[in-house]
Amino acid sequence: MIAGISIYEILTVTSILFFIGVYGFITRKNLISILMSIELILNASVINFVIINKYLYPDVLQGVFFSIFIIAVAAAETALAIAIIINLYRQIASVEVKDTEIMKY
């Protein structure tokens, strides 16, 4: 654990990060920006897992394992979403949310 830093301060930072992500998710109008906001939200939750593992249950490692799984799933999700976005750009020449109204053809 970090000397002199209580768990409350770190949880405050992650809460702020989470809500910055939520703000970006709602206000942005571009698919790639929305994806970046999702990354912020996921990272905030990963820090929470790790911090709670370290401060409350230091002799087990479950939080670390779940963080690794979250990171792997987030990477897979980003790769798939970017593939979809590039395919979409080929078909409608735009990545704005307001142009994305057709799921197929």
Partner: protein
């Protein structure tokens, strides 16, 4: 000393996160996100989870950010300005976010955490044994499932990204 480093990291994370969601230029916003991710890996280094910090640096700063930069370069002009949401909408969403943050913080600060004082250092060896053990509390099954998931995501990404050929074939048969 660690206190000062933590506060610097927290400041860097929050400032660059705000810059990342409010910047008008797409590429700059990706680079701000990179700084946020590096700050987060700094926090992992501070609490002695070196393996996780290395994963964060390689997967996020090395992989995901490069992917984002590629896609931005493919679909945008480099200096293109993003259109922002209406001011009223931004203020409304900001207020809602701050309200939610207030709810979170009151909940967190009213809860007593049973913090265990410790200076345990986790080695990569421990994490490896935990991930690959099939005893009670082992994580071998999720580990394997994640590997299959990554394979599926890879194949899916390839098939989706080269989709024009598939759709053309379908159109011909119709």
């Amino acid at each position: 000393m660690e206190k000062i480093i933590f506060y610097i990291l927290a400041l860097v994370i929050i400032i660059f996160a705000i810059a990342s969601v409010s910047s008008k230029k797409m590429l700059r916003s990706v680079i701000y996100l990179l700084f946020v991710l590096i700050g987060i890996s700094g926090i992992y280094f501070l609490i002695d989870y070196n393996f996780l910090a290395a994963i964060q640096l390689t997967v996020y700063a090395g992989g995901v950010i490069v992917l984002f930069i590629f896609s931005v370069m493919l679909v945008h002009h480099i200096e293109m300005e993003l259109e922002l949401a209406k001011v009223s909408r931004r203020i409304l969403v900001g207020l809602v976010s701050i309200t939610g943050l207030g709810v979170f913080l009151t909940t967190i600060y009213s809860h007593e955490f049973a913090v265990v004082e410790n200076t345990i250092t986790t080695t990569t060896e421990d994490i490896g044994f935990g991930l690959l053990s099939y005893d009670v509390g082992g994580f071998i099954l999720p580990f394997e499932i994640i590997s299959v998931l990554l394979l599926a995501a890879m194949i899916g990404a390839i098939i989706i990204a080269k989709g024009t050929k598939l759709t053309n074939k379908k159109n011909d048969t119709i």
